[in-house]
């Protein structure tokens, strides 16, 4: 090997190491900041746990589909901590396997609605005039229409066959909240003296958007992203429970729905079967709300400095 080659590999290695260290550093910093608010951090850890279990769990604990007539509504035991369902199948494995679709859809819906909200909000506030008036009016109208009934009627007419389509519908219905927040924020931020100063110093549009305005909106965006997710889970589960989104696969909503129709609620022994997915969803929603407190901390240096 020539000297040059050696040098270049060492250089290469160093940069990789640097990059990794850099990433690790920012992850560590993120965790430290999240931990500033104890309740928020707990929420964050729970959310993290949900994603790990829902996406990696199925590899370790595949869903068991064999009907075992002798074990119907078996009570919780060490082997089956959440007992058995109406066909004698393990409930825990269903819970583990039932999150992936819901979380993916919610994440997708939140991403799309955040993207729409930010884009339209920025457009409305920057262009102003007629475009602004029109968008504000459309947002007002969307906010006035009751969401769940509209979703239900839509699902009655349209076959919601894929997660992506469901996510899209949910997003299209939920963008106005973030739109209004972003619009108001941009309108107020761009009047700020420090943005004016950046204009005068000719720091460029990119700098003004990404360094001056966006960082000051991040806490809004992050929090409204979290609330978009909880909203998407709320609507999604409701649609599943109403039998409007025929998911074939495992899903917490489907679990509740089946448990309900199989009359699980009337057997005391079956309580765990129906309560397991109910609590799974409830805890997720709660953790999400808790997490927003930490998000606020992460994106607001003034709060950060006080501690």
């Amino acid at each position: 090997m020539s000297d040059d080659a050696v040098r270049s590999t060492t250089v290469y290695q160093r940069t990789v190491k640097d990059v990794l260290l850099g990433i690790w550093g920012s992850i560590a910093r993120f965790f430290r900041l999240m931990a500033r608010n104890r309740l928020g951090f707990v929420g964050f850890l729970i959310i993290l746990f949900y994603f790990i279990v829902s996406f990696l769990g199925p590899l370790v604990m595949p869903v068991d589909n064999n009907t075992k007539v002798d074990r119907i509504f078996e009570r919780p035991s060490w082997r089956h901590p959440l007992g058995m369902d109406h066909q004698g199948r393990d409930v825990l494995s269903q819970v583990v396997n039932g999150g992936r679709d819901i979380l993916t859809t919610a994440l997708l819906a939140a991403l799309i609605s955040t993207a729409i909200g930010i884009t339209l909000g920025a457009l409305a506030s920057v262009i102003g005039g007629g475009v602004d008036n029109l968008l504000v009016m459309v947002a007002d109208i969307f906010m006035a229409i009751p969401q769940i009934p509209l979703l239900v009627v839509l699902a009655g007419f349209v076959q919601v066959s894929s997660m992506a389509l469901l996510a899209l519908i949910l997003a299209v219905l939920s963008w106005p909240g973030l739109f209004r927040a972003v619009r108001a924020q941009v309108l107020s931020l761009r009047e700020r003296d420090y943005v004016e100063a950046a204009v005068l110093l000719d720091l460029g549009t990119g700098h003004i958007i990404f360094r001056e305005i966006l960082p000051n909106m991040m806490s809004y965006i992050a929090i409204s992203f979290a609330f978009s997710m909880t909203g998407a889970i709320y609507s999604q589960t409701a649609l599943v429970l109403l039998g409007l989104v025929p998911f074939s696969s495992q899903n917490w909503g489907v679990m509740i729905s089946i448990a309900w129709t199989r009359g699980a609620i009337f057997y005391r022994d079956a309580a765990v079967y129906i309560l397991a997915p109910v609590f799974t969803i409830a805890i997720f929603q709660l953790a999400m709300v808790w997490m927003t407190r930490s998000l606020e901390e992460v994106f607001n240096p003034r709060l950060r400095a006080r501690a």
Binding site: M137, D140, I141, M143, A144, I145, P146, Q147, I148, P149, L150, V152, V153, L154, A155, G156, F157, V158, Q159, T230, I233, Y234, T237, A238, L241, L242, G243, L244, I256, W260, I265, F266, Y267, R268, A271, I274, L275, V278, I281, A282, Q285, L286, M288, V289, W290
Partner: protein, 346 residues
């Protein structure tokens, strides 16, 4: 001054009207332009299954959907709108011959009753509780109420309904009887009791509505409490509250006319949103509690793909929500003199 004042009301009213036009048109075009148009499908079904002529089938469809398929699109639209304006929402597919308007007439009152009562109770309790914990910051009450509030408002209402049924109705049993007689509480009132403004009937109506009402209250009261708490804390920091104390006003007067009234203002504008939310939640809650309101009826219509009923109920719910929006806006303007001038002062 007059002109500006009325322009606020004109604007609000115009917005409501526009939203109604938008939603009704949306529904019309949604049905007409869908690849699997439910009306065409229905006509085809009639022709194939019952061997009717297209003429007959179309006539029947016109009756049921309040839409004439053969007319040009704009005529269909105008026809649909004028029928809507007259309160004609078409006929139910499932129970033939029953106008959708009649169905709505029988189910809407129960939902308005249960949602209305719970919203009122929840709003009042939340506002009071929020004020109390804002004044008693640092007491034991604060963290408990705050934690409970965020817990209750985070969990979806329909899951709380299931929890109530499972825990109160099934799991916990005393002497072999469940804590709450879930099955007896089904329906809007006990069969055999004569509806009317009698004590027995009102009592019975409340008994049957008790579960939906408690779930609505449980899910919303936390939100009102937290909102009122933070508004009250903000208002307590306002200069005019300090000045009012310096003026020697009594604590009672300051709490009600100064802190309370100003802290309540933002809540009033949230009232409309929460009405829409409650109607949305009623779909599942009424289904679970077997309460014959508009939500349960919509759920049933959707399951059976009874399109005219779906459409009619959806429009009805939207109208109710839009008018409550309008009402909340008007209420707000009565409570806050600044809004009437239109935005912030000049």
């Amino acid at each position: 001054m007059r002109a500006v004042l009325s322009s606020y009301y004109v604007r609000q009213f115009g917005k409501a009207l526009f939203t109604i036009v938008f939603v009704t048109s949306l529904i019309f075009f949604l049905i007409r332009l869908m690849p699997t148009n439910p009306i065409e499908k229905y006509v085809n079904d009639l022709m194939i299954n019952e061997g009717r002529s297209r003429e007959e089938a179309l006539n029947e469809a016109r009756n049921i959907f309040a839409i004439d398929l053969d007319a040009p699109m704009y005529m269909q639209y105008l026809d649909y709108v004028s029928k809507l304006a007259k309160g004609d929402l078409g006929m139910s597919l499932l129970s033939r011959g029953t106008p959708v308007a009649d169905i709505i007439k029988t189910v809407l009152p129960w939902t308005v009753f249960s949602v209305g009562v719970s919203l009122l109770v929840s709003f009042i309790v939340g506002a009071l509780l929020g004020t109390v914990i804002a004044y008693r910051r640092g007491s034991v009450l604060d963290p408990i109420v705050s934690a409970l509030s965020s817990l209750l408002s985070a969990i979806p209402s329909y899951l709380q309904a299931i929890l109530l049924i499972v825990v109160l109705g099934v799991t916990i049993k005393i002497n072999g009887k469940s804590l709450v007689p879930i099955t007896q509480m089904r329906g809007a009132y006990t069969p055999g009791i004569q509806p009317g403004f009698t004590w027995a009937f009102v009592k019975d109506a409340f008994f049957h509505a008790a579960l939906p009402i408690s779930v609505y209250i449980l899910t919303t009261v936390g939100g009102w409490t937290l909102a009122m708490k933070s508004n009250t804390i903000n208002t307590l920091g306002e200069d005019y509250v300090t000045v009012a104390r310096a003026r020697g006003l009594s604590d009672g007067r300051i709490t009600t006319a100064y802190v309370g009234r100003n802290a309540l203002l933002p809540l009033v504008s949230q009232l409309a949103i929460s009405i829409g939310f409650a109607f949305g939640g009623s779909l599942l809650i009424e289904t679970y509690f077997v309460y014959p309101g508009i939500g349960k009826r919509l759920g049933a219509a959707v399951t059976n793909r009874d399109y005219p009923v779906m459409q009619g109920i959806f429009l009805m719910i939207t109208f109710v929500v839009i008018f409550s929006n309008l009402f909340a806006d008007l209420l707000y303007s009565v409570l806050d003199p600044r809004i009437r001038v239109g935005g912030k002062g000049e």
